[in-house]
């Protein structure tokens, strides 16, 4: 009884928020479309075991067959059904991006909060280290870390996280530096709050909007970086259906005319990244004017 009530109340809070977004002009629509795309992909991946026509890892048809009624997206060189592979293939991407965002959040945000609040030499030294990492091209770091750690979902998530933690750190730090001087922090101090209480109850909630924006960019970039890593062979083993793997696999068949093997996975990757990007862009437009006012 209470669980149903809880579900209803969550929905009750989300639905009016979403509908109010429609009234916020083009940026509101960007957010809605973005959320729709991402949700659709998540749902599709979740129900894949039930709606997939074939096992994505079995030869079920002729090899390199172009799209037809039986195989709407064709088959690859091993006779696997591309449509089934598309339906299942998003899961790796989603896992990796969610994991990397989680790691970044759990590591980057507290570091940023702590370092900038404490200030002084510690902050300066630490920021220098972070800036050094930030200065490196992201893909290069990801490749280096992935090569060191080896294949696997968690390792890929880690290598992407290393690239992104500096961004979280910097955004959090710049926010904290300006919030630190605000009157409500002084008020909290004069009430006797300890430093970690101030960080958690007063600073962190006001930093969240900017983190959300970084997080959505993080998601989008994680998807693309994961695809990139798999493409150069640092990703997951072949028997797990994955768009990135299909991308790498399908590359060799382009010249021989079997365009469908690479195109559909490629489109899905772009679509997923696009969904996240739309949410991020839309949110940053929505949140910023409010901050200005």
């Amino acid at each position: 009884m209470t669980e149903a009530k809880m579900k209803r109340s969550i929905l009750a809070r989300i639905v009016p928020q979403l509908t109010s977004l429609t009234r916020r002009g083009p940026s509101g629509w960007m957010v809605i479309v973005g959320i729709a795309i991402v949700s659709a992909i998540i749902v599709m991946t979740a129900v894949a075991p039930w709606i997939s026509p074939h096992d994505p890892n079995l030869q079920v048809g002729p090899i390199r067959a172009p799209p037809s009624l039986g195989f709407p997206m064709g088959t690859n060189q091993l006779g696997f059904d591309m449509l089934s592979r598309i339906l299942f293939g998003g899961s790796i991407m989603l896992e990796i991006s969610v994991l990397s965002v989680l790691i970044c959040f759990l590591v980057g945000v507290p570091l940023g909060l702590f370092s900038s609040y404490v200030g002084g030499m510690f902050d300066r030294g630490f920021s220098l280290v972070i800036d050094a990492v930030y200065a490196f091209p992201g893909l290069v770091i990801a490749i280096a870390v992935a090569a060191m750690l080896g294949p696997g979902v968690i390792n890929m998530a880690l290598s992407i996280a290393v690239v992104y933690i500096p961004s979280y750190f910097r955004i959090v730090r710049s926010q904290v530096l300006s919030i630190k001087e605000l009157t409500y922090i002084e008020a909290a101090k004069s009430s006797g709050a300890k430093w970690y209480t101030i960080l958690i109850s007063y600073v962190f909630p006001n930093v969240i909007p900017s983190i959300i924006i970084v997080a959505t960019v993080n998601f989008a970039d994680a998807v693309l970086t994961a695809a990139g890593l798999t493409f150069i062979g640092l990703g997951v083993p072949y028997n797990i259906p994955d768009w990135g793997w299909d991308l790498k696999n399908g590359w060799q068949f382009l010249s021989s005319g079997a365009w469908w093997i690479i195109t559909f996975p490629g489109l899905m990757i772009i679509l997923l990244a696009l969904g996240f990007t739309l949410v991020g862009e839309g949110l940053s437009e929505l949140l910023n004017p409010k901050l200005q006012r």
Binding site: T183, K189, S201
Partner: protein, 326 residues
């Protein structure tokens, strides 16, 4: 009446940031002498005002007393105990007794905290009340500041309320701990005129009801006259005149005080202005004029004024001035 707060030779100097070249080539350290040796005491139940223009050090003094800033030197006594160097848990206990209200109602509440949580947070910090009991205390105190019915306000966010309401919430938050001493830093200067009296009246009623003592900081002398018992006029980090409300306003002795009072606008179109003309502007607190810091602008200045460092002298009962004229 006993002394609740005593401040002795309090100083706060802020070091001036030097650029790279200056750091390499000059050994000289320069300071912003925000508060430069002030001494005063506040009696229980009274409203003591630090008045002055911007840069005189009144806000810094308020923050020093609440220990938001650490003094460069000097002592602060609260209820007979030296609290200047308190740290850690004892400082936190002190904070329950001394609270502060800030000038900007728009910045003194966290935009992402609901009113109920914000007002109740001091209780949480000090582990005083929990759950139901804390809720009850929050509702009680909101009712006290005139936000009725309090249940309506508890779930709101600050941006949903007006400046006057927000300042009342800030007030509620500071009295929920039942403090004994309150530092009020320009509490009404950023609020609409029609709402100021409400806040001032609330503060006065709390003095009676909760036996509060106030240190009031303001540049608005008309408000200072309305609510103060005693006033200290500050200029460039020092107190130049101090006395009861009556003595300061009826018989201002220091030339600066006289000029200040004559410049205050009076809501009367038929009043003839008797403005005391002052030359120049308030100098920077880094290069403080030698001797009496007011002397460059003083209409009565003499040669000796730039030579001696002046102390407050009791000219009549409880009325102190730092000026060679006396």
């Amino acid at each position: 009446m006993s002394e609740v707060l005593k401040v002795e030779h309090l100083k706060k100097y802020f070091p001036v940031q030097k650029n790279v070249l200056e750091q390499l080539f000059t050994k000289k350290k320069s300071y912003v002498k925000a508060v430069d040796d002030i001494t005063f005491s506040v009696k229980k139940g009274e409203i003591f005002t630090l008045a002055g223009e911007s840069g005189c050090g009144k806000t810094t003094s308020g923050k020093l007393i609440v220990r938001l800033i650490e003094p460069t030197s000097g002592k602060i006594w609260f209820e007979g105990t030296d609290v200047t160097k308190l740290k850690g848990e004892t400082l936190r206990l002190l904070r329950r007794k001394i609270q502060m209200i800030f000038q900007d109602p728009y910045a003194s509440l966290s935009p992402r905290m609901r009113i109920g949580d914000a007002v109740g947070h001091p209780l949480k910090i000090h582990g005083i009340a929990h759950g139901r009991e804390r809720e009850k205390m929050v509702l009680e105190v909101l009712e006290k500041v005139g936000l009725s019915p309090p249940e309506q306000f508890v779930r709101l966010f600050p941006h949903q309320l007006s400046g006057g309401q927000r300042q009342r919430i800030a007030l509620a938050r500071s009295i929920i701990l039942r403090p004994e001493f309150m530092v009020a830093d320009e509490p009404v200067s950023m609020i609409d005129v029609s709402l100021r009296t409400t806040i001032i009246d609330l503060m006065l009623s709390f003095r009676k009801e909760l036996n509060l003592t106030y240190l009031f900081v303001t540049h608005d002398l008309a408000v200072a006259k309305y609510i103060s018992d005693r006033i200290a006029v500050m200029y460039l980090g020092r107190i130049i005149e101090m006395g009861s409300k009556e003595s300061i306003f009826l018989k201002p002795l220091h030339p600066y005080t006289q000029a200040l009072l004559s410049a205050v606008p009076v809501p009367d179109p038929e009043r003839k202005r008797r403005t005391v003309e002052l030359q120049g502007e308030i100098p920077s607190a880094i290069n403080v004029p030698p001797g009496c810091r007011f002397n460059p602008r003083c209409p009565h200045k003499k040669r000796e004024c730039a030579e001696k460092q002046l102390e407050l002298v009791e000219v009549e009962k409880e009325h102190f001035v730092a000026c060679l004229l006396y």
